[in-house]
Point group: C2
Chain length 151, copies 2
């Protein structure tokens, strides 16, 4: 099927180049809805999992601690989250959605879903199934077996 | 073939989760070689394209201007790049590899290639060809047609 041998590095090139394009697309879609991708991710994660401290958020999202602080600061300013004392750890503070934050998280999830449909909906159902199977195969064979449930 | 319908959002989930895992893997491999991914990308881009200003670097790499400044600052401190005046624009400065920077860029390219072989080499040649074909199909059908040659 292939006219020439596709090397692992060719796959990497295609994968990472596409990621750059997809991320820019999602960024633009989020921006059009008045969100940034970072803020949307924090909102959606809090909506799915409930209040958590910033270190946990950083770990789940793969963000640097400084980025989480900046994003949470911005969300606090916009009235979408609050920081409250953690009952189990006096030094830690939990980040929690406000009612407006819950609405924003719902909007973000809808915008994200529409973006995914726009980006991946051009594939046929068969192609989508093949692609997920190939991605899963790569994921399963990764050197370090740990996986993380992160968008 | 698929037991259930794979929705576009399922593909997105698989794609972005895998990206998170791959990126962490490349980060770790680069760190083991004494590099960060950001620095390696700047070095490799300068090695491929020659001296350029920071705005061009930021655009090519999809980095925020502040991130490029921080990365270039670190590379200057380590003696791997220098900033020099741009002959055509008195306000702009070009970032240029030093001889040590050329060596570091070569190392980074080798480390990257090995990482790609480790991450994508688990697929058969047929699977690799299928995956690149599917990724190319997505890329071709993206809403905004502009593409950018970015790893």
């Amino acid at each position: 099927m292939a006219a020439r041998v596709v090397l692992p590095a060719d796959v990497g090139q295609a994968y990472f180049e596409l990621h750059y394009q997809l991320k820019r697309n999602v960024d633009q879609t989020m921006a059009a809805a008045g969100l940034t991708l970072a803020r949307a991710k924090v909102l959606m994660r809090l909506s799915e999992r409930g209040p958590m401290n910033q270190a946990t958020l950083a770990g789940l999202l793969g963000f640097a601690p400084r980025s989480v602080t900046e994003t949470v600061d911005a969300l606090v300013r916009d009235g979408l989250v609050t920081r409250k004392d953690c009952p189990n750890d006096r030094r830690a503070r939990l980040v929690e959605l406000t009612p407006a934050g819950h609405d924003a998280a719902e909007l973000a999830a809808i915008v994200r879903l529409k973006a995914m449909e726009e980006l991946f909906g051009s594939l046929s159902a068969t192609d989508r199934a093949s692609l997920v199977a190939l991605l899963t195969k790569i994921s399963t064979n990764l050197p370090s077996g740990e996986d993380s449930n992160v968008e």
